[in-house]
C-alpha cells in the first residue's frame, strides 16, 4: 500500500464499474450460476455474489450464506480469468478452396470483441495471468489472439480475505494479496460496520479511471485494517505445500511406486487441467463444411491427461494414467521451474476442489517426500 491508497464505498465501486463500461470495456466479474461462482459480464453491484461464501475441499464445492453483505467473500471460483483471455476455442484462420486457388484468411484483426475489464481477480489468478503473458507472449513465438485480448485488458484485483479449504497461495508465495500486475487492487472491508474498499493503484491507467469516481484518500486506519484482514487470511489457508527442493524431489521420484497409487484413483478426466489457471496446452482442430470448399482451423484447450495428447504414429508416448499424472505434477512443480523460472502452480486449489476423485496435489507431493528413494532412481 502506498500514499496513493484510496477508499471507495459501495456507490464508488458501482461508479468504477460504470466508468469502465463507458470506456468501452466489457466488464467481467464474479456471479452466481448453477450453485457456483463463475465469471460473467456484469453491470451492477447487484450482479455480484452478495453475502455468498464458499466451502471447498477435495472433490467438494458448495456455496454458503455468509450472513453478511460481502461482495467478494468467497475464494477461487469455478474458473479463473483463463477462459476470458485464453478461450477454450479460438478460430485461427479460415481457408477457402476453389478449382484453382486456396485462400487462407487471417482472422486476428481487429481483436475479437471489445476489451475486457476483469473485476475481482484473485492474487493467485493474477499471478497465473502474468505466467501466461510470459509463456504466450514473451518466447519464440506468441499467441497473437491472446496478445490482442491481453493488450487491452484492465484488471481490478481483489485481495482474498476468506480463503477456502483448498487454498495454498501462501505456500506458493502468490497471495493472498495481489502484489502487482493489476491496474487497481481492492481490499474489501465490511466487518466494522462501514462497507468499503481500500484501493491500491497499480498503473497510470488505473489512476485515471479511479480519478473519475468518488474515491477518498485512505486513512491510516483503513490501511491498517486492510493489512490486518490480509494477514489473518494468510493464516487461514486450508492447505499447505512444502516447496523446498520440490524440483529435485519430483525429478528423483520419476520411478516412484507412488504413481501407481495415484493412477488407481485418477480417472484421467482432465478436470484439473481445465480448471487450472496456468495450464496452457492446446490442440488444433480442422473443420470443413459439407461442400468441402470452406475449412476452419481452431485452437482448442487440450490436456496432458488424454491419451491422444502424446500420440505419434504407432501409439502414445504416455499410455498409462500413471505416466500422465506424473507428467502433470512434474510439469507444475518441477519442469516449469526449468522452463520459466517459477512453479507452474499458484496454489488456487481448483485442481483439488474439482477433481471428482479428490486427488490433492499437496497430498501427492507430500507423499513423494515420504517415499523411500532408491539410489538408482536418481536422474
Amino acid at each position: 500500500m502506498t500514499d496513493d491508497t484510496r477508499v471507495l464505498g459501495l456507490a464508488g465501486l458501482q461508479a468504477l464499474i460504470d466508468a469502465l463500461g463507458l470506456r468501452g470495456y466489457t466488464v467481467i466479474g464474479p456471479t452466481v450460476r448453477d450453485g457456483a461462482i463463475v465469471n460473467a459480464p456484469i453491470s451492477s453491484l447487484d450482479d455480484l455474489p452478495r453475502g455468498i461464501g464458499d466451502e471447498q475441499d477435495a472433490a467438494h464445492y458448495r456455496l454458503r450464506d455468509r450472513g453478511d453483505e460481502a461482495l467478494f467473500g468467497f475464494a477461487a471460483g469455478a474458473q479463473s480469468a483463463k477462459p476470458v483471455l485464453f478461450p477454450s476455442d479460438e478460430l485461427l484462420w479460415r481457408s477457402r478452396r476453389t478449382a484453382d486457388v486456396t485462400v487462407i484468411d487471417r482472422e486476428v484483426e481487429p481483436p475479437p470483441g471489445p476489451p475486457y475489464a476483469l473485476i475481482g481477480v484473485r492474487s493467485c489468478d493474477l499471478r497465473a495471468i502474468l505466467m501466461h503473458d510470459q509463456i504466450l507472449l514473451e518466447r519464440t513465438a506468441a499467441d497473437v489472439h491472446y496478445a490482442a485480448r491481453r493488450a487491452e485488458s484492465f484488471v481490478v484485483a481483489v485481495a482474498c480475505t476468506d480463503p477456502a479449504g483448498t487454498c495454498f497461495c501462501v505456500s506458493m508465495d502468490t497471495g493472498p494479496s495481489p502484489r502487482g500486475g493489476y491496474d487497481l487492487a481492492l481490499t474489501e472491508l465490511y466487518a466494522d460496520g462501514e462497507h468499503r474498499f481500500v484501493v491500491a493503484v497499480g498503473t497510470d491507467r488505473g489512476a485515471e479511471v479511479l480519478a473519475e469516481v468518488a474515491a477518498t484518500t485512505a486513512t491510516a486506519d483503513d490501511v491498517a485494517v486492510a493489512e490486518r484482514v490480509i494477514t489473518e487470511a494468510s493464516g487461514r489457508m486450508g492447505r499447505a505445500l512444502q516447496t523446498d527442493g520440490l524440483k529435485y524431489l519430483l525429478y528423483a521420484n520419476v520411478e516412484s511406486p507412488h504413481w501407481d497409487d495415484v493412477a488407481s484413483r485418477c480417472l484421467a478426466c482432465t478436470n484439473c487441467t481445465l480448471v487450472c489457471p496456468t495450464c496452457f496446452c492446446t490442440s488444433v482442430e480442422d473443420v470443413t463444411d459439407l461442400t468441402g470448399v470452406n475449412a476452419e482451423r481452431h485452437r482448442v484447450w487440450d490436456s496432458c491427461f488424454s491419451e491422444e495428447f502424446s500420440y505419434i504414429h504407432g501409439g502414445s508416448v504416455r499410455e498409462s494414467t500413471r505416466s500422465r499424472y506424473r507428467q502433470w505434477i512434474t510439469h507444475k512443480l518441477a519442469a516449469w521451474e526449468d522452463q520459466f523460472g517459477s512453479f507452474g502452480c499458484v496454489g488456487c486449489g481448483r485442481c483439488i476442489t474439482w477433481c471428482p476423485a479428490g486427488i490433492d496435489i499437496t497430498v501427492e507431493a507430500a507423499a513423494l517426500r515420504g517415499t523411500p528413494r532408491k539410489t538408482s532412481q536418481r536422474s
Binding site: D143, V144, G181, G314
Partner: protein, 292 residues
C-alpha cells in the same frame, strides 16, 4: 523469475502482435511428386508467394493438408541450394496419407522452418558418422548434402542405414553415388530380405563396430525410432564417442511447432524449439525413462 509484477504486458503484447502470427501458414504448390517406396513419397513444393524458404539441415515444417490437419515433417531437401522445398513423407496416418496423395498442383499450407539443426559443420576437420533407420534418412539427407558440398573439409564419413526390407530403401541412387563418387562409406542393412538380397540382414547397431572413425574426433548424427537411437548412442558411447558429440533427432506429438501447444514436452524440454536435434548428453537421462 524477474519480477512478474513489473513486467509490461501491453508492451509484450504489442511486440507479439508486431512479430506476426506463427500459426498462420503460407500456401505452397506441389510441383513434383516422386514415389520413393510403396508407402513413402517425396513432394517438391514451391511457395505461392515466390519467397523461398531458408532452412538449416535438421529443421522441420508444419505441413498442412486442406481440411485434414497438420503434422511436423522434417525437410529432406538440400539446404545449400535455394530452390523447391522438399519433404519425404511416409504414409502413417490420416494427415500424412493426405500429403502423400497430393497430386502436382495441389495447394498445401506450410509453417516454419522450426527447431534446431544438425550443425554437421561442427564435424569439419574430423570424422562424421550418420546412423539412421527407416524414414529417418529423410531428415539426415540435408546434413549429408551440406557435408558433401564441402566434402574435403571432413575426414572419414560413414552412413549406416537400416531399412525394413530392400524395397524400403530410400534414395537408392543417391546412396550409390555417395558411396562410389563422393567418398562416403555407405553400409546398408535390412530387417528381412528375399533370397535374392545379397546385402546384410540385421540391426543397424551391428554396423557400428564395422566402421573406422576416431571416437574423440567424431560427430555422430542419429535419426530413427527412439529405441534404435538409444541403442546406437549406447554403442557409440561404448566406442568412446563423447555424449556431447552424439546428436539425435527426437519425435513427439506437435500441434504448433513454436513452443506454445505443450504437446512435445519431454520433462523440461520443448522438443519443437529446444530440439528436435539434441545431444545425447542432454537426452540420456530423459530417454531412459519409460513414458516420460
Amino acid at each position: 523469475m524477474t519480477s512478474l509484477a513489473e513486467h509490461d504486458h501491453a508492451d509484450a503484447a504489442a511486440h507479439a502482435l508486431a512479430a506476426g502470427d506463427a500459426m498462420l501458414p503460407r500456401p505452397y504448390r506441389v510441383v513434383r511428386t516422386r514415389q520413393d517406396t510403396r508407402d513413402t513419397v517425396t513432394l517438391q513444393l514451391e511457395p505461392v508467394d515466390g519467397v523461398p524458404l531458408k532452412f538449416s539441415a535438421g529443421q522441420f515444417t508444419m505441413l498442412h493438408a486442406f481440411g485434414v490437419g497438420e503434422v511436423p515433417i522434417s525437410i529432406s531437401g538440400d539446404p545449400t541450394k535455394e530452390g523447391l522445398l522438399e519433404h519425404t513423407i511416409r504414409n502413417v496416418g490420416s494427415v500424412s496419407g493426405a500429403l502423400v496423395a497430393a497430386a502436382p498442383g495441389t495447394i498445401l499450407a506450410v509453417r516454419g522452418p522450426f527447431g534446431t539443426g544438425w550443425d554437421v559443420s561442427d564435424g569439419m576437420g574430423g570424422d562424421v558418422v550418420f546412423i539412421t533407420g527407416g524414414i529417418g534418412l529423410a531428415p539426415l539427407r540435408p546434413a549429408i548434402l551440406e557435408l558433401l558440398a564441402n566434402r574435403e573439409k571432413y575426414n572419414r564419413v560413414a552412413l549406416l542405414y537400416g531399412a525394413r526390407t530392400p524395397d524400403d530403401i530410400l534414395f537408392g541412387d543417391e546412396l550409390r553415388k555417395w558411396a562410389d563418387l563422393l567418398g562416403i562409406v555407405v553400409e546398408v542393412t535390412v530387417d528381412s530380405g528375399p533370397h535374392s538380397w545379397r546385402g546384410r540382414v540385421g540391426l543397424v547397431t551391428q554396423l557400428i563396430p564395422r566402421i573406422a572413425f576416431d571416437p574423440a574426433n567424431t560427430v555422430a548424427l542419429v535419426c530413427g525410432p527412439e529405441v534404435m537411437m538409444r541403442a546406437c548412442a549406447t554403442a557409440l558411447r561404448g566406442r568412446g564417442v563423447p555424449a556431447a558429440s552424439i546428436r539425435l533427432s527426437m519425435e513427439r506429438n506437435m500441434k504448433c511447432g513454436v513452443g506454445l501447444c505443450g504437446h512435445c514436452q519431454l520433462r523440461e524440454l520443448f522438443i519443437c524449439v529446444d530440439g528436435p536435434v539434441l545431444t545425447y548428453e542432454r537426452l540420456a537421462p530423459l530417454m531412459s525413462r519409460w513414458e516420460l
